[in-house]
């Protein structure tokens, strides 16, 4: 009983001090636009329908004209499962350690990095 | 152990004029008609074949509704399947043999529209709200679609 009184308090001082997160922590999603090829696999496997593919142009392959697509992420519905990260063959997606995602504007959570660059 | 179990199930199945089929190494399925269900379940429960009822599942088989009783004992599983007609259907209740089945039967009554004769709580709703419209078909049938249910229950903004 008395040894507990002499111990340091167990409460962490977050948010006044930074908190240490483990390495595998699953936070907000991030994409590297240079690696994305628009293969659509992430959109097909997402359980929460977060990813929509939009057309950004066309390209010619031989004498065929193909659509070029890139993903838009609606992160307010993301469940942080990591299926898209595991299935991306080009390692373009990554889960960061950012977890402070509360915002009064829902449009802050739409990630258009792959489309606008 | 599995051989003994199968033999005992076969013994009960003969009285119900049916035969068990083995789905997998330790899973058996018996198709029983409605009139023999109570007798079969009573034999399984009271003769010590299985004293564990997992649950009762409702199933939409297209033209009829299936009701499956899942029993298990050690590593063996027994599925007892019976079918009833799709609309305004009645089925036999096993509540006097196994009182714990009362909530499972209430759930099938709510979600598939099957009335169990002999269940004392058939007039109460378990899962559906009191204001479920009378003309709306039960939700888990294949013909009931989620958007229509949401519209009728006013779950979307006008």
């Amino acid at each position: 009983m008395f040894r507990l009184m002499l111990q340091t308090p167990v409460t962490e001082d977050y948010p006044f001090k930074p908190i240490t997160l483990p390495e595998r922590f699953r936070g907000k999603l991030d994409i590297d636009p240079a690696r994305c090829t628009g293969c659509q696999v992430c959109a097909l496997v997402c359980p929460a329908s977060v990813i929509t593919m939009v057309d950004i142009g066309t390209r010619k392959v031989g004498d065929r004209v193909l659509q070029v697509k890139r993903p838009i992420f609606e992160l307010s519905t993301c469940i942080f499962c990591g299926e898209c990260v595991d299935n991306c063959a080009f390692k373009a997606l990554e889960m960061t350690k950012q977890f402070e995602l509360a915002t009064p504007n829902k449009s802050d959570l739409t990630m258009r990095k792959a489309v606008s660059s | 152990m599995s051989e003994v179990f199968l033999q005992r199930v076969e013994g009960c199945a003969v009285d119900a004029h049916t035969k068990p089929t083995q789905l997998r190494e330790r899973e058996t399925l018996v198709e029983v008609e409605q009139q023999y269900v109570k007798q079969f379940v009573s034999k399984v429960w009271n003769d010590g074949i299985s004293r564990r009822l997992s649950t009762i599942t409702g199933l939409d088989l297209g033209e009829r509704i299936g009701i499956i009783y899942h029993f298990w004992q050690n590593k063996d599983t027994l599925h007892v399947r019976t079918t009833v007609q799709k609309t305004s259907s009645t089925a036999v209740s096993i509540v006097d043999i196994i009182p714990g089945a009362i909530l499972y039967e209430m759930e099938i009554h709510d979600l598939f529209g099957v009335t169990f004769v002999g269940n004392p709580w058939m007039d109460k709703k378990l899962l559906l709200p009191e204001t479920w419209p009378d003309d709306l078909p039960p939700p888990l049938l294949k013909t009931s679609k989620s958007p229509e249910i949401r519209k009728r229950l006013k779950l979307e903004a006008e």
């Binding site: 595998r24 | 599942t57 939700p139």
Partner: protein, 424 residues
Amino acid sequence: MKMSESKKSARREETAGLMEYSTENLVPFGPIHPALKEPEYFKLVLEGEKIVEVIPRIGYVHRGLEKAAEGRPWVQNMYMFERTCGICSFVHSLCYGQAVEELTMYKVPKRAKYIRLIIAELERIHSHLLWVGLMGHWAGFETLFMWVWQDREIVLDIVETISGNRVHKSMNAFCGVRRDMPENMEDHIVEKMKYLAGRARYYREIIDTEETMLERTQKVGKLSVDTVEKLCAVGPMARYVGIQNDVRLNDPYAAYDEVPFSIVTRNEGDVQGLLRLRLDELIVSTDLITYAVKHLPEGPIRVKIPPVIPAGEHSSRCEAPRGEIFYYVKSTGGRTPDRVKSRQPTLANLPAALEMLKGQTLADVPIVLTAIDPCFGCMDRMSFLDTETNKQWTWSGEQLRQYGIKHYFPNQSRNSPILKETHP
């Protein structure tokens, strides 16, 4: 505020009418009550302080998961069923995964089975610690609650290091697990398990000797063996009267047939027996994890399977912290299931809980209802009853929101900028 004479007489008439109306002592318990973690409505019929009958009404958090599962691909359903419950999330995805894996011809690698066992037992320790803390809280023993929940943080930290998240682990996949155990974690886990087992023995001593706990838990919630068997109770609710009903022993799954496992049963048949049972199970879990971590076999952790599952039907069961979880899956050979049925242990334990309440006093209700370790999951709604016309109607979440906006912003039009910013 002064009421006028006419208003006062009208009010007297109203209350007189209500007093004549009720003939039996009905106390409504719920749906929103401090003792319940999730909403459920119990109508308690009382004679003085003793409970005579209990009529349940569930369906307050029903989400229609079984209907929603019929239109989604197999893998997406795994994430959806994981979110049936927070505390037993891994076991739900494990049970569903096992039911579907049997329909394919692929086998689960050995290392994956051991990792599944480790995570499932960590979840069990977490759930039992949470429950012991809650029992202390409802009995009025706040210190026990605080200390137990501090130990719970150790388990959550281990889970976060392995899987990345504290509660929804998302570790399961068809025929395997998604992530391997991190390097050099073995010593850390073994040390923490030893510490937790020591704490569990200390709490065991407390519940046996502390006067508050003894008063509130001894001889409360008694049931006989025959009643429990007939009411199909599962898990600790069957084991606390002495029935040897444990899926890990009777029908082993994952790696339970290869690790030394001993079942825990008790004979007291009251809530104190439940407390002792769950703490003993906690100690058994720490031993299981220590063994599994030291004997982890080498090899792959996952076998990738195609997205189309062959036709057939299969059922599987697992031992969740609360009892037996049962999943039945039917496939017609497509990318989406035909029927998925999941039965949670709390539904099976509910008739036994109602039986336990008969004969107890009103003050025992929170203790007994928490003793079955409830985890309800059903449909959300707000219901109105007009007593004069006996008309009932409900509001949806959207209607409730619109009502709130009109109440707090009565003079704002629907297109005003403040409403657009705060209520898009």
